[in-house]
Symmetry: C2
DNA sequence: AATCAATAGTTCGATATCTAACTATAATAG
DNA sequence: CTATTATAGTTAGATATCGAACTATTGATT
């Protein structure tokens, strides 16, 4: 495989990833209740699965978005009553994000609307085959994260 | 692997893909000359590699963006003098997109700034290993494309 | 202790993208 | 032919995201 081919392969890789993200994002967004976005769900889901009481910065790092983006997302979630944001007693600059009951029940509803898509995908393509590429994706993600300014 | 695990795996898959897209997109965008975006480059690159004289709709399908998005992208490219858009003599509703010399030379410049990133990635992680996941990504992309309304 | 640098979060302006509604042309059906 | 339906592209409005500049607090250096 010569240099030009390798470059083209890698570029194609990012191209495919970009398209998948767009298609999957749209599919998810269309299923979620009015005005809610995958990014909102993933934050709620994260807090639910791994525990709340995290700072906005921790969340923005977990999803690799800017602090500004997370401020916006959390604002929407708070306006909906899905989270409550408190000052961090341990650090005056910082805040802590907590889930409300409403937030948890939103997750339940959202899951009920999103999981049929995943189940169908599992049935049609097979999770085993798909999740075989997870290690490479994680490796790529970690690499990109570590070489952000390079 | 039980149902809950499979769902979580698939969700994680989309999550990784979303993050990679964000990191790679940002890395590319930061390298491109003022105000230009990966989406602009990919259109130019596509026209250069596979031939110009395509319609906006064909382009929007190739990149899985809406017609409205492609209108916007092509407007920016035309304002920069990278493309010229003509009426399609074969269909009065349609148009055809052609590259200008300026567009081709932009591609050359852009490639020179983007490819070092890909070369470093090739060197550090290896294109062989990475491109091994391309078939699964293509399969997933095709599936999502075909099941867009499902 | 005082100053300077680093960190957390917000605000502001820009932009890429989406959906929905619209215009114009083409294709099909009666 | 005419009328309806489908297709190509644009426009308008909304929003998620980004980068840069700003405020407030913490940490480090002298």
């Amino acid at each position: 495989m010569d240099k030009a081919t390798r470059r083209q392969r890698l570029f194609e890789l990012f191209n495919e990833i970009g398209i998948i993200q767009q298609l999957a994002g749209t599919a998810f967004n269309n299923r979620l209740p009015d005005g809610l976005h995958v990014s909102h769900f993933t934050v709620i889901n994260h807090l639910c699965r791994l525990g709340d009481g995290r700072t906005p910065l921790q969340l923005s790092r977990a999803f690799q978005v800017t602090k500004a983006t997370m401020t916006n997302t959390l604002g929407k979630l708070e306006a909906r009553g899905f989270i409550r944001v408190r000052n961090n007693p341990a650090d005056g600059r910082s805040k802590l994000v907590f889930l409300t009951d409403k937030g948890r029940s939103f997750r339940t509803t959202a899951i009920a609307t999103l999981y049929p898509l995943l189940d169908k995908l599992d049935q049609d393509l097979g999770t085993e085959a798909l999740s075989r590429i997870l290690p490479q994706l994680r490796q790529l993600r970690t690499y990109l994260d570590e070489n952000r300014d390079g």
